[in-house]
């Protein structure tokens, strides 16, 4: 499968990435190569085969519902790039 520059731009937006113009051509070519190789999967006969996530032995993992102390905001927010009191600060969303 070939991938176009505009498709790469659309996917990058969905992934919240911004590819620099100088890197775009190269990225499109590399992704095209990789996706072309991945097309070999089309030759595999997967009729009636289950997804591996379904085929794995899945058990519910349960534990007692015991109340434990939260580490608290000073731990949770310790690495925040911007914070105020016990809150994360982000650029204004409502304009």
């Amino acid at each position: 499968m070939k991938i176009s520059k505009s498709e790469v731009e659309k996917i990058a937006h969905l992934a919240r990435l911004e590819i620099e113009d100088s890197q775009k051509e190269k990225m499109v070519a590399q992704l095209g190569n990789i996706l072309q190789y991945i097309d070999t999967l089309k030759d595999a006969d997967v009729d009636g085969v289950r997804l591996s996530s379904e085929a794995a032995v899945m058990n519910n993992v349960l534990r007692e519902d015991i109340l434990e102390e939260s580490p608290g905001p000073c731990v949770t927010l310790a690495n925040a790039p911007d914070k105020e009191d016990d809150f994360y600060v982000v650029p204004r969303v409502v304009k």
Binding site: R16, E18, M27, I34, I38, A44, P71, N79
Partner: protein, 490 residues
């Protein structure tokens, strides 16, 4: 014997007999690091101050008779394992200043057992790569020849062990990232069964494939370290509720019965794979003879879906990565780009400036493969192929105890040789990806050298939770392969 020559096994013996102190051992290793690290670049962060304090505490414990499995043993950790109070970067700018507020489960286990953590080793960013060239901080060099890569993504850990900067190290393996660098650096590496070791505190790349494991100087050390880190953990619901045997018993089993009665399978699809280097083939053929002489019965087996392994992996891993790495949004932790007033713009600039190109490439592949209209053709199909690959292995293990193969199709390549061609780099993972896809354990053991003097390992893979067979066969092999030189001169 000089300090840097001690394996974990040797050091435990000498420490408990009070012949050496952990403080002297740790100090000697730091002197060695200070002398040679510029040439190798194995570490992102060194923690001499804390390490020496831990070593002193270990010496007090030993003096008081409080001896645990790893008391006083200097170890290094791949910088993708969370260490409380010690920077954990994942080799990425986006986590340049990230200081975890807790220890990962493997880290707490090592600390509880008295280990001395000397520092955090270099890696391909978020463990995405096969050469340790994708780190945002430095390129790690192969201690056997600094013009060559050490392999990856746990290249810093493998190089640190080969350079004898530490007794041993932990790495992580999502598609070969322990076994391949171990092979390229001439050391031992084990990827345990999926679920054998808790992943809590391992920064996620591809959660259904990631596993933590030992990188060591010999097979016995791998068993000692695996003993220390294995087991169910309430903080990781995918960690298995399966009994953990004493893995060092595998050595006793070999001493008792050599490898008699063991059956090894060689997949015919592997040896007919394109691009196997004749030197790798030669080492492999010799390895086969050594195992035969030890009593292993060798037979040809078939893994019919081998041709699809790389393609299926390079869908599944990027899909999981695109989801896992969405968390780096510049809000909760890590780098934030401050040039934009708009929230979406802030996300985009943060990610694009924080992540390197290989990480962005994999996020885009994953996002594409999971996007509307493509899910069935890519992720769905790859997941079904994964089921077929897993079945190939369970069929194979009906007739053999372990599967023998090369680790990588060629010895380590030169730094810079493959950086512009990601697909060629992906294809070098052909022999290691399957163990992650099928969730089975694999070991890489040194087996020989190329004509340029670069190490070449062999791989053995076994049934789920049968690391014992790998350690027994690996130990027997190591004892009888007769390598001319075990470690590089720096």
């Amino acid at each position: 014997m000089e300090y840097h020559e001690f394996t974990i096994g040797n050091a435990i013996e000498r420490l408990t007999r009070h012949e050496i102190s952990s403080f002297d051992l740790t100090s000697a290793l730091f002197s060695r690091i200070e002398k040679y690290e510029d040439r190798i670049g194995a570490f992102i962060t060194l923690d001499k101050e804390q390490a020496l304090l831990q070593a002193q505490k270990a010496d007090q414990d030993i003096a008081a008779g409080r001896i645990s499995a790893l008391t006083g043993i200097p170890l290094a950790l791949k910088d993708i394992l969370c260490t409380k109070g010690l920077k954990t970067t994942c080799g990425s700018r986006i986590l340049e200043n990230f200081v975890p507020q807790y220890d990962g489960t493997v880290v707490s286990k090592l600390k509880e057992k008295g280990a001395v953590i000397i520092g955090k080793t270099n890696l391909d960013e978020f463990a995405m790569g096969s050469s340790t060239e994708n780190s945002s901080y430095k390129i790690t060099k192969n201690p056997w020849n600094p013009e060559y890569v050490p392999g990856g993504s746990s290249g810093g850990s493998a190089a640190a062990v080969a350079a004898r900067f530490c007794c041993a190290a932990l790495g992580t393996d999502t598609g070969g990232s322990i076994r391949q660098p171990a092979s390229h650096c001439g050391v031992v590496g084990i990827k345990p069964t999926y679920g054998r070791v808790s992943r809590f505190g391992l920064v996620s790349y591809a959660s259904s494939l990631d596993q933590i494991g030992p990188i060591t100087r010999d097979v016995r050390d791998a068993a000692i370290l695996l003993n220390a880190i294995s087991g169910n953990d309430k903080l990781d619901s995918t960690s298995a509720r399966v009994a953990v045997p004493d893995f060092t018993k595998a050595m006793d089993e070999f001493e008792k019965g050599s490898l008699k009665g063991m059956k090894a399978g060689i997949p015919k699809e592997y040896l007919s794979a394109e691009g196997i280097d004749p030197e790798v083939e030669k080492v492999f053929m010799h390895a086969k003879e050594v195992l035969t002489d030890l009593g292993v019965e060798i037979k040809e087996i078939s893994l019919p879906h081998t041709a699809y392994v790389v393609a299926a992996y390079y869908i599944i891993a990027p899909c999981e990565a695109s989801s896992n790495l969405a968390r780096y949004d510049g809000v909760k932790y890590g780098f934030r780009d401050r040039s934009s007033e708009d929230l979406i713009e802030m996300y985009k600039k943060t990610k694009s400036r924080g992540f390197g190109l290989e990480v962005q490439r994999r996020i885009i592949i994953g996002t594409y493969a999971l996007s509307a209209g493509y899910y069935d053709a890519y992720y769905g199909r790859a997941s079904k192929v994964r089921t077929l690959i897993t079945k190939d292995f369970s069929n194979a293990f009906e007739t053999c105890d372990f599967i023998l193969s090369p680790v990588a199709p060629a010895p380590a390549f030169k730094i810079g040789e493959k950086t512009d061609d990601p697909l060629t780099m992906y294809l070098t993972d052909i022999f290691t990806l399957s163990a992650n896809m099928a969730g089975i354990p694999g070991i890489s053991v040194p087996a020989g050298y190329s004509s340029k003097g670069l190490p070449i390992g062999i791989q053995m893979m076994a049934r789920k939770f049968d690391e014992m067979s790998l350690l027994r066969a690996g130990y027997g092999f190591e004892r009888n392969i007769g390598l001319s030189q075990k470690f590089p001169d720096l």
